[in-house]
């Protein structure tokens, strides 16, 4: 563990004339979990492909496990495990055969791989599934098997591209728990996600990527403190404008446009819900309490608030 697991310096990647990654730099410390957040099309997957040496950067430098990419990518990947966005397990094989065949790609001996298979399957919560065909496994089981496959070479660094997309809550929690166990063993983890709770739970540090640039970086707490007010009040429901006049009604959005600015520094309207961001929410809460029909939720600001503030609320396709 002499060299840092991954160092990315001023990475640029164009597809044709279109810049996808526009000058990003970050580095991973051994044993940390670093999460790349970003809306669809932000350049997360392209960044990961560059970090694995699967595509040549337009400019910039990447060192993976002390090896320069893409020149020494193959050697660097010996110490890396990858969980791709799409499952690409071998459908013709059993769970055990998937691990055996994948281990061979790392130049491992059959006997050594076979000796690891029971512990890998048990780590992934797949005891007794060694001889199960892939088609008989659920989505969550396939994901866990893909994780086990990424661990077949006992890597120092694990790279996961949206590891829990499409999983039910039970399956997501199990993946999180396994990743925490790996971090506790000293593995370094780089993951991409667009689930903020996932990043907040797992990551030592996060980076928000948008339009090919890193627009925020730090621990989840730092990023929240730096970029957004500490308190959020979500206001929704029907608004009866004045207690006496019940005929004049509107939405929470109408209420916000008329009143929010006098209580908070910043507010946003999304559909019929108003988001108020405040340092001192007491006056706002007192006002809301007196309104008829409006309902509200007062909570601390989280990463999702930061993410939406920095990357906007419009849909990304």
């Amino acid at each position: 563990m002499s060299s840092p697991p991954l160092v990315v310096t001023d990475l640029h990647k164009n597809f044709g004339d279109t810049p996808i990654v526009r000058g990003i730099s970050f580095s991973l410390a051994p044993g940390e979990c670093y999460a790349l957040l970003g809306p669809n099309g932000a350049g997360k997957t392209t960044t990961l492909r560059c970090c694995l040496g699967l595509t040549e950067p337009t400019s910039g430098h990447i060192m993976l496990g002390g090896e320069p990419l893409p020149r020494r990518a193959r050697e660097a990947r010996l110490r890396v495990g990858v969980v791709p966005q799409m499952d690409n397990l071998d459908p013709d094989f059993t769970a055990g055969e998937n691990l055996l065949v994948y281990g061979r790609y790392f130049g491992m001996k059959d006997a050594d791989i076979r000796a690891r298979i029971p512990q890998l399957l048990s780590f992934a919560g797949l005891e007794g599934k060694e001889n199960s065909r892939i088609q008989t496994l659920s989505g969550g089981m396939k994901r866990r098997l893909t994780l086990a496959r990424a661990l077949v070479n006992d890597p120092d660094l694990l790279i996961l591209d949206e590891p829990t997309t499409g999983l039910d809550p039970q399956a997501r929690h199990l993946i999180w728990e396994r990743l925490k166990a790996l971090l506790a063993r000293g593995k370094t983890v780089l993951l991409t996600t667009h689930f903020m709770d996932e990043a907040e739970r797992l990551a030592t540090r996060i980076a928000i990527l948008d339009a090919g640039k890193l627009i925020a970086q730090g621990t989840p707490r730092e990023v929240i403190q730096t970029h957004i007010e500490p308190d959020v009040v979500e206001v929704f429901g029907d608004w009866q404008n004045g207690a006496a006049d019940t005929s004049a009604t509107g939405t929470a959005a109408d209420w916000a446009r008329a009143n929010a600015a006098q209580f908070v520094e910043r507010f946003e309207v999304s559909g019929e819900t108003a988001f108020c961001y405040a340092h001192e929410p007491a006056a706002l809460l007192a006002h809301l309490h007196a309104q008829h029909g409006l309902r509200y939720l007062h909570r601390p600001a989280n990463l999702e608030d930061v993410f939406l503030k920095l990357t906007g609320r419009e849909l990304r396709d």
Binding site: A73, R104, G107
Partner: protein, 249 residues
């Protein structure tokens, strides 16, 4: 030898499906060989100095090798590359695209070798091989397999979907089969067609295999082998470049 685990992976899949695979690979060429050999053989007492069945048998070795390598490199290769994303998984391991393309080409050639061996074995049961020179057909079959596997990999590299492969079959493989002396001697065809056939690999394959099957040395061996080798090298390099462009962009 980093490509070997990838070749082994395909072998393991093949072993699971070997029963249907062997029957499928063998039934078609055998039906043609025996059907045409016996059926037309009744009308044609001899062709090219041998029984029509023997003539067709040597053609079938070449044609079934070509077909088997082409199918494997295109349909199965495309499944692994594009549909199942098996290659993506391999590229995340310490394998390069070179390892994968080499392994896939070697695998398609190996599978076609098996198909050629089966036809040869059956031909020898029917007494259609003479002497021991025919054993030289085995390395030649492997060359034929490498040649059509490499050509097939070019198609795989540019294919948007499975339907695309029909072009290769209807515009290249089938016409080549008809003008390369597989079912009848090519020397009765118009001169321009003969010239065209002489530029294509299958006619050279046939001219190597046919004499060896009946215990004779081929004429112009060096020329025929060189043409096959030339096709292998050029097609492989083109396929490799196109795949690099498609997958590592």
């Amino acid at each position: 030898m980093r490509w070997l685990p990838v070749w082994q992976r395909n072998l393991l899949v093949w072993r699971k499906l070997a029963g249907t695979s062997i029957i499928g690979n063998l039934a078609d060429p055998l039906i043609y060989m025996l059907g045409l050999g016996y059926g037309l053989g009744k009308l044609i007492p001899e062709m090219g100095g041998m029984s029509y069945l023997a003539f067709v048998a040597s053609g079938t070795v070449c044609y079934s090798t070509m077909n088997s390598a082409t199918f494997e490199a295109m349909y199965s290769g495309f499944s692994r590359m594009h549909v199942q994303k098996t290659w993506d998984a391999m590229l995340n391991a310490p394998l390069s695209l070179d390892d994968i393309v080499l392994a896939e080409t070697m695998w398609a050639a190996s599978k076609s070798l098996l198909s050629g061996i089966c036809i040869l074995f059956i031909a020898s049961l029917f007494g259609l091989t003479q002497g021991w020179l025919w054993l030289w057909i085995l390395p030649i079959v492997f060359l034929i397999g490498l040649c059509f596997a490499s050509l097939g990999m070019i198609m795989t590299a540019i294919a948007p979907s499975y339907d695309f492969f029909m072009y290769w079959f209807t515009l290249a493989i089938t016409p080549m089969m008809l003008i390369s002396g597989v079912w009848f001697p090519a020397d009765q065809l118009p001169a321009i067609v003969q010239t065209l056939a002489a530029c294509l690999p299958l006619s050279h394959a046939v001219q190597l295999v046919r004499p060896l099957m009946t215990g004779q040395l081929p004429v112009q061996t060096l020329l025929h082998v060189s043409v096959l080798l030339g096709y292998i090298v050029v097609a492989y390099l083109i396929a490799h470049t196109l795949l690099q462009r498609r997958l590592l962009k």
